[in-house]
């Protein structure tokens, strides 16, 4: 059992969620309400990581974050951070890769809130923030929760993009999914099996728990 890899995966999942959640809430809510002409393009870009092969996405991320790219150079010069083959690069890749898993459930949840409720809140004197926290988030919560769980579980199991951008540096970029692959490559099937079982149990528990919670939280109308 590669505990280091598991810990790293859990870390990556938490940090990804932490970084992505505020952005996901904002983008999902905006997409739910906006009527701009280029909405279909934005929605298309949001879904893109879902349909693109992870290697393709990983390749582009590698190229755009690498030391010879303007972004990579800027990060290196300003913060002294090299994005490829280290944890912070992994986080950026993971955030981008998880956008559809978080944004889509959130968008659907906000879309399901009748417009009159927001209007009634405004007429009742609630500010936009009060309305957001007391009405919208509470009503959209099952959707937000399922997006969060999907993102978390999906990050734990992420393989292709992580391998492309992070390589397989123990303690830095070697996540549990990559560790399993390594074990299989070196014919350590027992070790691979342990970790695979672990990942399976963790993922299933999280998803089922989120469905239970959503059903309990869903408000009857």
């Amino acid at each position: 059992m590669d505990w280091q890899a598991l810990t790293l995966s859990l870390q990556l999942a938490f940090v990804t969620l932490l970084v992505l959640l505020p952005f996901g809430l904002w983008l999902g809510r905006w997409l739910a309400h906006t009527q701009v002409r280029y909405k279909a393009w934005i929605e298309g870009l949001v879904v893109l990581p879902l349909v693109l092969p992870p290697t393709v996405l990983g390749y582009y991320l590698l190229v755009s974050m690498g030391g010879s790219s303007p972004f990579g150079q800027w990060m290196q010069n300003t913060f002294g951070i090299q994005l490829t083959f280290n944890f912070s690069g992994l986080v950026i890749a993971s955030v981008i890769f998880n956008i559809p898993f978080l944004v889509q459930p959130i968008q659907r949840a906000f879309e399901a809130i009748p417009r009159e409720l927001g209007e009634a809140a405004a007429v009742s004197g609630l500010s936009k923030w009060q309305s957001f926290w007391r009405i919208e988030v509470l009503l959209a919560w099952p959707g937000i929760l399922s997006g969060m769980v999907l993102t978390f579980v999906h990050t734990l199991g992420e393989f292709g993009v992580v391998l492309m951008v992070g390589g397989s540096i123990p303690g830095e970029t070697k996540t549990i999914a990559i560790s399993i692959y390594d074990r299989v490559q070196s014919f350590d099937l027992e070790g691979a099996n342990q970790m695979a079982m672990m990942l399976l149990a963790l993922s299933l528990t999280a998803v089922v728990a989120s469905f239970f919670a959503s059903a309990r939280l869903a408000v009857r109308r």
Binding site: E116, V123, G125, L126, R220
Partner: protein, 391 residues
């Protein structure tokens, strides 16, 4: 605040996103009903009043507060307007119980005080203590509406808006809600605006009617003023005045204050067209084509052998529809082909008036109201047979 200015003054003019044009006012303690077919702009007007929508050009003045004045770039958001609004589907928060819903406009108060006041408002609208702890899904339509009213009242409104509040409530609950509304009107010294497409409701509850069609505010007045003197044929159609006829204004008669009206029938030669002596307000040019209406108070049924005067006509029952305690009767007039009277009758004698019965009709010509048909087509009859509003 000066006592001469109305408590609410609204004027709007815009062509986008939907056309709206006109103005109306409402005094404190008055109930004003906004009536018109669906899509006429009633809900848009409500949204402008509540601040949910900004008119392209317009003014909303409540008491001595200017809520919206586009000329001076003023448009207060709903949060700063103190409007009590009852939405069409109530718009109650499904995740809050009744008390929490009514607490929403009271967020500026400490929690204990908020809950106390919310309970008081719910007591006031007649919700039991058990019901006060229920979520909207566990309340009946009528109870949900009472919660919505309590929430609107808790806002300490300076203007009350009710958007089709009775549409989703059954007849039995409706009666008790009418009583609630009547109580509110007595105790609230603010303007109350009611949007409805039910004319009976509007006539029964409102002090003032505002008729709106296709975004245009056509007429404001007391219900009886509008029913007795609709501004044009469209208003007459919209408020469900059936007895509207075509005519031509001949000019003043020898009697002072009286004028002569030619009642035009289909294919009737000029010398056969009846001439009616009606009130003359001195506004119409000679030869002006007109629509004219007569309220049902001005129509009496008489026996055939009583027909004697120039305002008596021969009539025949062509249709009699039995609608519970009333009959809807259609009569044709022998002297004027194409002219049809529609009357509602109650009482036992209506049973004697089967289809084909011949009788007389006596018109009280002092109640005839004449409306010019303008060349621009505005006052023109569209010969609508359907009545877009519920009668």
């Amino acid at each position: 605040m000066t006592h001469t200015s109305p408590a609410l003054h609204v004027s709007v003019e815009q062509s986008q996103p939907m056309p709206l044009k006109g103005s109306f006012q409402c005094e404190s303690g008055q109930l004003l009903a906004l009536v018109g077919p669906s899509g006429a702009g009633k809900t848009s007007l409500m949204r402008i009043l509540s601040g949910l929508m900004q008119p392209h050009h317009g003014k909303v003045i409540v008491g001595d507060e200017i809520w919206c004045d586009t000329d001076n770039h003023i448009c207060l958001p709903p949060q700063r307007r103190h409007v009590g609004m009852v939405f069409q589907d109530y718009a109650l928060m499904p995740h809050f119980d009744a008390i929490e819903n009514v607490s929403l406009p009271l967020l500026h108060l400490p929690r204990a005080e908020r809950t106390k006041q919310a309970k008081q408002w719910l007591d006031h609208v007649g919700l039991t203590h058990a019901e006060q702890h229920r979520k909207p899904a566990d309340l009946s339509g009528g109870q949900q509406q009472r919660v919505a009213v309590a929430r609107a009242l808790a806002r300490e409104p300076k203007l009350m808006l009710l958007d089709e509040p009775f549409s989703a409530v059954d007849q039995m609950n409706r009666q008790s809600l009418y009583r609630l509304l009547a109580d509110l009107r007595r105790e609230l010294a603010i303007p109350i605006i009611l949007v409805t497409h039910d004319l009976n409701e509007a006539r029964m509850l409102a002090d003032q009617l505002v008729v709106i069609d296709n975004g245009h505010i056509l007429q404001q007045g007391t219900p009886s003023a509008i029913y007795n003197a609709p501004r044009n044929a469209r208003v007459a159609d919209l408020v469900g005045i059936h007895n509207r006829f075509l005519g031509e204004w001949i000019g003043p008669s020898e009697q002072s204050g009286q004028g002569l009206l030619r009642w035009k029938g289909k294919g009737l030669p000029l010398n056969k067209q009846p001439i009616l002596s009606v009130r003359d307000k001195g506004r119409l040019p000679e030869g002006q084509p007109v629509n004219w209406v007569i309220p049902s108070d001005g129509i009496a049924l008489i026996k055939k052998n009583e027909i004697a005067r120039e305002n008596d006509f021969h009539a025949e029952v062509t249709e009699s529809r039995h609608l519970g305690e009333i009959n809807l009767l259609t009569l044709t007039i022998k002297e004027v082909p194409g002219a049809e009277f529609v009357l509602t009758l109650s009482g036992s004698f209506r049973k004697n008036l089967a289809v084909g019965t011949k009788l007389g009709i006596r018109l009280d010509l002092s109640l005839v109201h004449v409306m010019p048909i303008r060349a621009d087509g505005k006052g023109k009859s569209k010969h609508r047979t359907e009545y877009p509003l519920k009668l």
